[in-house]
């Protein structure tokens, strides 16, 4: 079992969240949500602290983390990219868009680029089916994305203008 090697203040953040939910095992999902929100991801060491605080087994915690696609064990990139694979987006070519992102970034779904800039994930339906296929980068939504646009989206962020460029926001 990996030894816990988290910084003291990180451990405190986790313990505080657990305490907020009365260290109750039944609140595991809520605890995971909040901790991920604060730390960005849920590495093994974090799950161990949570298991200990909630008096449950780390296997159970890991079971929940791996069951829900929302939870991530790898740090998200500075610009997390999410591609909607809901029915409408899927039939309008989301998979080709996803494949293009994979090809350009050289990562698989759930992974981050080596420089920590981008991470790639899928999600289900943003409720913007009229704009399908939809891609989110951070909080920003791109609609009617074609595979040919992928390279430009990435370049915009690499050049440091993507996040401030609001012209593409749907």
């Amino acid at each position: 079992m990996p030894k816990i090697k988290l910084a003291d203040n990180t451990i405190k953040v986790i313990k505080d969240v657990c305490a907020e939910y009365n260290n109750s095992e039944g609140e595991l999902i809520n605890v995971l949500h909040k901790v991920q929100h604060k730390l960005g991801y849920l590495p093994a060491e974090v799950q161990e602290v949570i298991a200990k605080e909630l008096k449950t087994s780390v296997a159970k915690v890991y079971g929940v983390v791996t069951f829900y696609s929302f939870f991530s064990m790898v740090p998200k990139g500075e610009f997390p990219i999410s591609i909607c694979m809901g029915t409408a987006c899927y039939v309008r070519g989301a998979e080709q868009v996803l494949n293009e992102f994979k090809r350009q970034l050289k990562v698989e779904v759930g992974e981050s680029t080596g420089d920590g800039m981008f991470s790639l994930n899928c999600l289900r339906c943003l409720g913007a089916c009229g704009l399908s296929p939809v891609v989110m980068v951070g909080e920003k939504v791109y609609g009617r994305v074609a595979p040919t646009q992928v390279k430009q989206i990435i370049t915009d962020y690499r050049d440091g203008c993507g996040s401030s460029d609001s012209s593409k926001t749907a």
């Binding site: 079992m1 449950t56 087994s57 780390v58 296997a59 159970k60 915690v61 079971g63 069951f67």
Partner: protein
């Protein structure tokens, strides 16, 4: 009591409110097939995730089929347990399970004892109509247990055992859908986890997904090596269960046939772990009396309660989970290891055999014993005190391999000197037995008076946690007993918080003790089998002429010729051990 009426297969049934259709049906002798469900009555162990859907039945007026294992009965229900719709559904469900299951039954370790195979037979599956992807996962081999997750049907029994019963918390379902598997956290291998190797996951696995590391081939090789002298020891619980592998009634004692079969297999000396159990009592009992006398003299530093240390899974459990209590358990090694140590010193010297030329094999009801004999502290110059520990099931396999007609074997005795044992040694195989054996000896050593009665019924039974007070000539000795690691945890937490008032506690990892060990013939969820094995051991005890460990003549001889006295320096070196912090 509230009762309700219903009809199952045209049979009127009156049952308690709140029970399941499955239990209601079985109360009138109607057997509904199940796969993921397992229930051990009296032990409060039940697995009913309602996952497999093999047990579906048709309930009149209900749109969909109802899983019998987790649907409560209702007044006036009309149930059909084998309508065409039900049978079709069961076959479809099973075909879907089988479509993602390796079809290697011919060479599977579980073949012939597999509940999935039995179900396919029972439901008459002749063709699997669904073809598709098969899930694949790496095989995980540890010192005692092999995980072959491809054969897992996600019944979750192992998970229930590991988490709810044993509270070890190693196994959990991870990932989702087709990728879901039962695994330790972070998909680490078992030998990196806090697994105790208790083997209760193996004991309840319906398929070949969890099995013991099979060492019969190594044993056969040792037996056929003319340069080796091979001695065998057999644990108490084996004699109460081995017969089941040869279609005998559960609870049939096969001690004589067991000795005979081991001799036929070619072991040079057929000995008995019961001898080492008697030796354990001498050491552990003396240690207990030492601690008690110091306590009674007012020594505040003495560690009480003393905990038994015969069970390797229990030892590994507290090393991982309660290392701060490492100085509380007795330092006595387990009977298996005491036997190995004495065999490779005292016996080897007596016979003029070099340690390297002596192979010690043990037959155990346990898979953790495989791990235990590999622990470094039980080796001398890399040579282990016990070379191979095989399970009751593996021994049955060996006997069949050698074409021995077990049922027709004569009753034979164990060899001397390490085959002589007392009734106290025999009951080591059941929960409550070790402490009863210890009490018999400790009482007489402490009071210097013979016991009036040897049967301590107050220490026996199947309750998960039991306690009793024994009058030690005016001193009330308070005894606790726990079987199942979850129950052990409760007692340990009390010790930690200073609430425990016990002087001595016996702990066995497996429900029922070694009779319910992970290496025993599969009970397939029938707790009656465990009770019958338990009764068999008490019967063997009462049949013995000598029933107190300190009266075993060969134990007395061992101390006179070799060890000196209990807890002597030599005894300490050969028969005691230390514990490690594994956090």
């Amino acid at each position: 009591m509230d009762t309700i009426q219903l009809t199952i297969d045209n049979k009127p049934v009156v049952v308690k409110k709140g029970i399941t259709i499955l239990d209601a049906a079985s109360s009138v002798g109607i057997h509904i097939p199940t796969l993921c469900h397992m229930k051990l009555d009296d032990l409060n162990i039940e697995n009913r995730p309602g996952g497999c859907r093999i047990c579906v039945v048709e309930v009149e007026g209900r749109r969909n089929l109802a899983p019998a294992c987790c649907t409560e009965v209702a007044d006036g229900m009309v149930i059909n347990s084998h309508s065409i719709r039900v049978i079709n559904a069961r076959q479809t469900v099973l075909e879907l399970i089988l479509s993602d299951h390796p079809a290697d039954c011919l060479i599977c370790a579980k073949s012939g004892k597999c509940e999935l195979q039995d179900m396919a037979h029972h439901l008459g599956i002749r063709e699997i109509h669904y073809k598709g992807e098969q899930s694949t996962y790496r095989e995980d081999t540890s010192p005692a247990i092999i995980r072959d997750v491809d054969k897992c049907i996600m019944c979750r029994r192992c998970e229930m055992m590991c988490n709810e019963v044993q509270t070890v918390g190693v196994l959990s379902a991870i990932n989702r859908g087709f990728n879901a598997v039962v695994s330790p956290a972070f998909e680490m291998n078992l030998d990196h986890s806090v697994c105790t190797y208790c083997g209760q996951c193996v004991a309840v696995c319906p398929t070949g997904a969890l099995t013991e590391v099979d060492q019969t081939a190594q044993v056969v090789r040792a037996l056929s090596d003319p340069t080796k002298t091979v001695v065998v020891q057999t644990a108490p619980a084996v004699r109460a269960a081995l017969g089941e592998e040869f279609d005998m009634e559960p609870g049939t004692l096969v001690t004589g046939k067991l000795a005979a079969s081991l001799r036929r297999l070619g072991f040079n000396y057929v000995f008995d772990t019961d001898f080492a159990a008697d030796l354990t009592i001498m050491e552990e009992g003396t240690e207990m009396l030492n601690r008690l006398s110091r306590f009674l003299e007012g020594d505040k530093n003495v560690k009480l309660p003393i905990l038994t240390s015969c069970c390797p899974a229990w030892v590994k459990f507290f090393e991982h989970q309660f290392p701060q209590l490492n100085d509380i358990p007795s330092t006595a090694r387990s009977p298996q290891q005491m036997f190995g140590s004495i065999a490779k010193t005292y016996f080897a010297e007596k016979m003029g055999i070099d340690r390297e030329d002596l192979v010690v094999v043990s037959i155990m009801p346990c898979v953790a014993k495989k791990y235990e004999c590999g622990r470094d502290e039980f080796k001398v110059n890399e040579n282990p005190d016990v070379d191979y520990a095989i399970t009751t099931r593996e021994l049955a396999g060996l006997i069949k391999l050698a074409n021995i007609d077990f049922n027709k074997l004569p009753n034979e005795d164990f060899d001397l000197p390490l085959g002589e044992s007392t009734g106290a040694g025999v009951i080591f195989g059941t929960t409550g037995g070790v402490i009863e054996a210890a009490v018999r000896t400790a009482y007489e050593l402490y009071t210097k008076k013979p016991l009036q009665k040897l049967d301590f019924h107050e220490l026996r039974g199947m309750e998960g946690i039991r306690h009793a007070t024994i009058d030690f000539a005016g001193f009330p000795l308070k005894i606790g007993i726990a079987h199942g690691l979850g129950n052990a945890r409760k007692l340990l937490e009390k010790i930690e918080s200073g609430e425990s008032e016990f002087h001595a506690i016996e702990i066995m990892s497996c429900p029922g003790g070694c009779i319910g060990g992970g290496g025993q013939p599969y009970h397939h969820g029938n707790a009656e089998i465990l009770k019958k094995r338990q009764m068999a051991l008490y019967q063997e005890d009462s049949n013995k002429t000598i029933r107190k460990s300190h009266e075993n003549p060969y134990i007395i001889q061992l101390y006179e010729e070799f060890l000196g006295k209990p807890m002597s320096e030599k005894a300490h070196h050969l028969l005691h051990t230390e514990y490690f912090d594994r956090t």
